[in-house]
Amino acid sequence: MEMCIGDLRFTRSMQTDSASESALIDRCRKQDFEAFGKFVDLYQSRVFGFVRRMVPNSEEAADVTQEVFIKAFQNFTRFDGRSSVRTWLFRIAYHLCVDRARKQDRTPDQVALVDAEEGESIDLPDSRWQPEQLAVDSELMSVVEAAILSMSEKLRSVLLLHDREDMQYEEIAQMLEVPVGTVKSRLFLARAHLQNVVKSYLEIEVSK
């Protein structure tokens, strides 16, 4: 019974969140400055995190993130609700990141991607592979960040949108205007590359 009640409370809480977000979006559409401030509070970290990993320079990432929210504010009246507001916002962020990268003609160093079909799986006897311990291993995080930056923007964007922002394949496909199969392929390649880098790092660490 308690579980049922708990579920009901949980469901009600989800409905309340959904309703309050709808109300917030409606106010943002009317260019309500205060409402948009709350909207920025909700999404600023996530957008900044995404942009920061797409645009390596910190100052540029801060500028681009500001541009994202300014553009969102200017164009909120045109948001028609066909996609979720999150997808819409990240679409703006992605296109601004791509534009910025093209202006700078930033091409990442060519990194040989592991042949995913022949790639070995990561054996995880090491306790450091427990996800809850990963957060404290800042060195490993730096390695992962560097590996993500070394990928092309096509692989990087899919990896971040799916694995970090929990977007569905269809959402990502709609945002990037590519087929769902392409999204899955890119995700697989991106993870395989990351897997290779992390495996090399762990082997080095173990050998020490």
């Binding site: 260019q31 400055f33 948009f36 401030g37 920025v40 600023q44 970290s45 996530r46 900044f48 995190g49 920061r52 801060a62 993130t65 500001q66 929210f69 300014i70 504010f73 200017q74 995913a116 799986s121 990561i122 995880l124 592979w129 996800p131 990963l134 957060a135 995080m141 992962v144 960040e145 993500i148 990896l159 971040l160 799916h162 694995d163 970090r164 199969g181 899955k184 392929s185 995700l187 697989f188 993870r191 395989a192 990351l194 897997q195 992390v198």
Partner: protein, 148 residues
């Protein structure tokens, strides 16, 4: 589930996914936020000003359009019609001499008619009478008419 879906669901792929998920969150600075607030406020002020201008401009634009439509619907067709009416009037007589000659002939016929029979005789009959009588001269009268 396709082959690719199967590969994406493998343990190594899922481990990497969890690794990406565990990356630290990036929070922008307070300075960044205050700069953004200033930019948004400027945008908001600009948008409000535009709305205010449009609120007053809209009736003016509407009225102007209504006037243009009224002119197009009511005034222009009337002026076109009057111009067309002028074009329909018959053209002026090309030769003023022929007109004068025609008028003079009508007058002569009238006078002849009155002289010969007073009222009643129509100019055609008068003309016929004249043509039957011997014409001694180009004058209107003959001696027999004057009973001399």
């Amino acid at each position: 589930m396709s082959e690719l879906d199967g590969k994406l669901a493998s343990s190594s792929q899922q481990t990497v996914a969890r690794l990406v998920k565990a990356l630290p969150e990036e929070t922008p600075s307070m300075l960044w936020r205050s700069t953004l607030n200033e930019a948004l406020l400027a945008q908001s002020t600009r948008a409000q000003r535009k709305r205010l201008i449009w609120r007053f401009a809209r009736p003016t634009v509407g009225l102007s359009l209504a006037c243009v439509l009224a002119v197009a619907v009511f005034v222009l067709p009337v002026s076109r019609h009057s111009q067309a009416g002028l074009r329909d009037t018959p053209p002026a007589v090309s030769s003023p001499d022929s007109l004068a000659a025609g008028l003079f002939q009508i007058h002569r016929d009238d006078v002849r008619a009155v002289d010969l029979a007073g009222t009643g005789l129509n100019p055609i009959e008068a003309t016929d009478e004249q043509s039957k009588a011997p014409a001694t001269s180009q004058d209107d009268y003959s001696e027999s008419d004057l009973d001399l």
